[in-house]
Assembly symmetry: C2
Homo-oligomer: 251 residues x 2
């Protein structure tokens, strides 16, 4: 299977059957829900975090997570003891003393200087394209998605997860594995709202444009301004709001 | 101000002004975004977590967080050094050795045995009532909410936050402060989807019925079944799905 196919394929184990009582109809039937399971991330053998995630692409998730924490991982794989729901990352620059501070610090990332310019109409259309490619969302209604698009709006990689930060980590981890980091000519699109954490992950990946179907937070806007990222929200119905670095968006 | 009024009032600092370029219209105008800022939670003087939250009700947030971690806090207050965005919790049963495992473990909670029975039509209507009372969402489009309702559908407490787990923690912390835990005759309603983490917080609070406008995850359904909680999703348009302990919902 080619890398591109793999990046767009239906992930395994993303939906599970449940019995549901529908009211007021009173019908009991089988339905599907998004799978959520814990994943323990170990770095150089030390457990550093447990994230609740949708199984699949665990290596990419762990790599993206470590990159977002400012580490430079060299690889990820299932652990030697084959423990379930566990992934092992090698990162020579990891300092175990920092464990307690993981997820608590603002990570250094160079300012994004890419000269990319994109039409507003293309950006406003990305959430719709993302949604059209979300196979597991259609089945469960319970998954966030992050998509990586090229400057012409072609989808390069899509990941779904019960956690929006996980979906972003998986995409960044995929780009890392493909040797595409730092990004420069690509656009990240998320299915929900934009928090500080998501913009931080985009900044670490060097992505110049981030688009969301929902609202950004105050700190997401501040961080995007600080890192030179073009931040767009409420992208729907052919319209969008641009909060920072508006020069990259052509009306 | 009475406790009930306070529980329903507009929280301070929940929205902040930003400049936004609206496209394709091409208008630059002032808009509002949801405020997101870090909060460091210290327990007995030790920093144990940083959560990205919307300021306001920080004591309740910290209390709810600690309760969800299986602790029995005795109080919360700003720290003696008055550090910004920091809250100090007293919890005599806290073991600093457990710090690294915080947020990683399933917490023990007694099975919810409350005999509460509620009409499906009332439950299906709760998300609409919640939304109607979300002052900061209306301004920003960027806030999750959790509401605590009594068995007649009266809103007892509403909290909004950029993080859905924070909104739930604030409500549980409020109920704790009011001496209402464990819950038994109340209903928790959330504005989004239902993850494992949210059901865990409801279980710790002893809440018999949890309703969401969105989808539950697989582990949310499993945990609700295990703890005897009635879990409802997709509550909209007069309809809802009941996944567990269906006997509490009257058609």
């Amino acid at each position: 299977m080619s890398g591109a196919d793999d990046a767009l394929g239906v992930p395994p184990y993303s939906a599970a059957p449940v019995e549901v009582l529908r009211l007021p109809a009173g019908r009991s039937e089988r339905d599907q829900v998004a799978v959520e399971e814990p994943l323990e991330i170990r770095i150089n053998g030390s457990p550093v975090a447990v994230t609740m995630r949708t199984p699949g692409d665990d290596e990419e998730l762990a790599l993206g997570f470590c990159l977002s924490e400012g580490l430079r991982p060299t690889g990820a794989s299932p652990p030697a003891d084959l423990a379930a729901n566990t992934i092992e990352v090698e990162a020579p620059d990891f300092d175990p003393q920092r464990v307690q501070r993981l997820e608590a610090v603002e990570v250094e990332a160079p300012r994004v200087e890419a000269r990319l310019e994109v039409a507003a109409a293309l950006l406003a259309d990305l959430p719709k394209r993302l949604r059209a490619e979300q196979p597991a969302f259609a089945a469960t209604g319970g998954l966030h998605a992050t998509g990586l698009f090229d400057r012409d709006g072609r989808l390069l990689c899509l990941r779904e997860d019960v956690g929006r930060h996980n979906a972003m980590d998986k995409v960044v981890g995929w780009a890392f594995g493909e040797g595409r980091l730092p990004l420069g000519g690509e656009i990240l699109c998320v299915s929900g709202r934009l928090s500080f954490e998501l913009v931080q992950k985009a900044a670490v990946a060097g992505c110049p444009v981030v688009v969301a179907v929902g609202a950004p937070s105050s700190l997401a806007v501040e961080l995007a301004a600080d890192r030179g990222i073009t931040l767009c929200g409420f992208a729907r119905g052919g319209r969008l709001n641009v909060y920072t670095e508006t020069w990259r968006v052509l009306a």
